[in-house]
Amino acid sequence: MQFACSEIGVHSVATGDAAKIVSAERIIFPGVGAAPSAMEYMRKNGLDAALRQAFQNGIPILGICLGAQIILDSSEEGDEVCLGLVTGKTLRFRLQDRQLKIPHMGWNEVKVVRSHPLLESIREGDEFYFVHSFYPQPAEESNIYAVTNYGDDFCSALGYRNLFATQFHPEKSGRLGLQLLERFASWDGVIPGKLKHSGGR
């Protein structure tokens, strides 16, 4: 993640320090591992409260992979209660087609369904790198910004106010992924044309 930031000329610090998170200019929240252990770690270190505070303060936040899942109310992974920054649940893939393997791993198309400043450079057929067995399902459709097909369409990018999150890994998605990170680096946290109180909580 930090190599990707360097590549686009952005200074970044990897930290688990709540104070640094609240005072950051912007936050990338790249989750690794499983929802229960991630939530446990965050609660133990006060990072859940820090992230909530940062979100309320309007700091632009980019969640990636697990970071796109645990911002919702709960996850089917270990039936874990999560951060609840955006209403919705993280669900396990239930695929009918036995040819489809889990995890969903590799390059797949991201279809933009609603315009967002971070997705502006994405064109039809653009692919990003995924590796996951669970996916975010926001309760409000207006918070879904992109979908990807794996058996069915699932939400591959969501947003609410100053928070944006991708199930795919922009830092592993070549030039197109770096472009998204560049857009995040200059995003003011506002989604033009969005009503202030639409969607989420």
């Binding site: 791993m105 590799g106 797949n108 692919e127 794996y150 998605s173 197109l176």
Partner: protein
């Protein structure tokens, strides 16, 4: 739907790029960091850095090289060669490798696969297997045997059985490398690849033998592979990644074309 992956393998010896021909002759063909960046820009979907001397000489793995490569390419990237412990795997992950390949050490001690999968996740744990065609027998019913130590030591283990065990132990992906096809440029071992791909629920990467774009098409259409490993076909500038992908796309294989 997922695209089929084109994966370039950089065999590294003493920190320099090398391509083995049937694992015996190796010749130096350049700087791996520069080559990796070039392939990345050219649209390769994934890269493997393989230390071909590590397991034989028990050399420590090339953390420094991994960091340099990871700072230059922004696609998934795996490392193999000489990984003998959870600690080796964790260090490589920290240095920026998305996945690690285990091979010889996993055959010698199969718990290594589950231990690494527990530490860094199944999706980051790749079982790489070197396979040689043999007479079918009671021990080797599939007619394909696992060999270790860079192809020098037969093990008496059936390749199909080993692939299934690897999946059960927690490997998230299999690289099936045919010793017979490696370096020949006569095409992948399609029968072996298909047999394994049809028997496991994890992605299978075909390895060894690519010499023509047609061979890649065969790996996907007949070998049922999820990805195909290439080396000499691109290392000597016979073809570049875009040409290979354009060819595959024209034959109806879904590959990533926008990059």
């Amino acid at each position: 739907m997922l695209s089929k992956r084109l994966i370039v393998c950089l065999d590294v010896r003493d920190g320099k790029l090398a391509k083995s021909i049937k694992f015996v002759d190796t010749r130096d063909i350049g700087n791996p960091v520069e080559k990796a960046r070039q392939y990345y820009e050219d649209g390769i979907d994934e890269l493997v850095l393989y230390d071909i001397t590590a397991s034989r000489e028990k050399r420590d793995i090339m953390i420094e090289l991994v960091e340099k490569v990871a700072s230059q390419i922004f696609i998934p990237f795996s490392v193999g060669g000489g990984i003998r412990s959870v600690d080796d795997a964790t260090k490589l992950r920290m240095a920026g490798a998305e996945k690690v390949n285990v091979n010889t050490a996993a055959v010698e001690r199969k718990e290594l696969i589950s231990d690494i999968a527990r530490a860094i996740g199944s999706q980051s744990t790749i079982l790489s297997m070197d396979v040689k065609r043999v007479e079918k027998s009671r021990e080797i019913p599939s007619g394909y045997e696992i060999v270790i130590n860079d192809g020098t030591t037969p093990t008496g283990i059936d390749a199909l059985e080993w692939a299934k065990s690897g999946e059960n132990l927690g490997a998230g992906e299999l690289v099936v490398n045919s010793i017979d096809a490696d370096g020949t440029k006569e095409g992948y071992e399609l029968n072996l690849t298909r047999m394994i791909a049809d028997s496991v629920g994890i992605p299978v990467i075909a390895s060894g033998g690519a010499g023509e774009p047609e061979h890649l098409y065969e790996a996907f259409s007949q070998g049922h592979a999820d990805g195909a490993l290439v080396a000499s076909i691109v290392h000597y500038d016979e073809y570049n990644c875009r040409q290979l992908k354009e060819y595959l796309s024209s034959r109806g294989i879904k590959v990533r074309m926008n990059y």
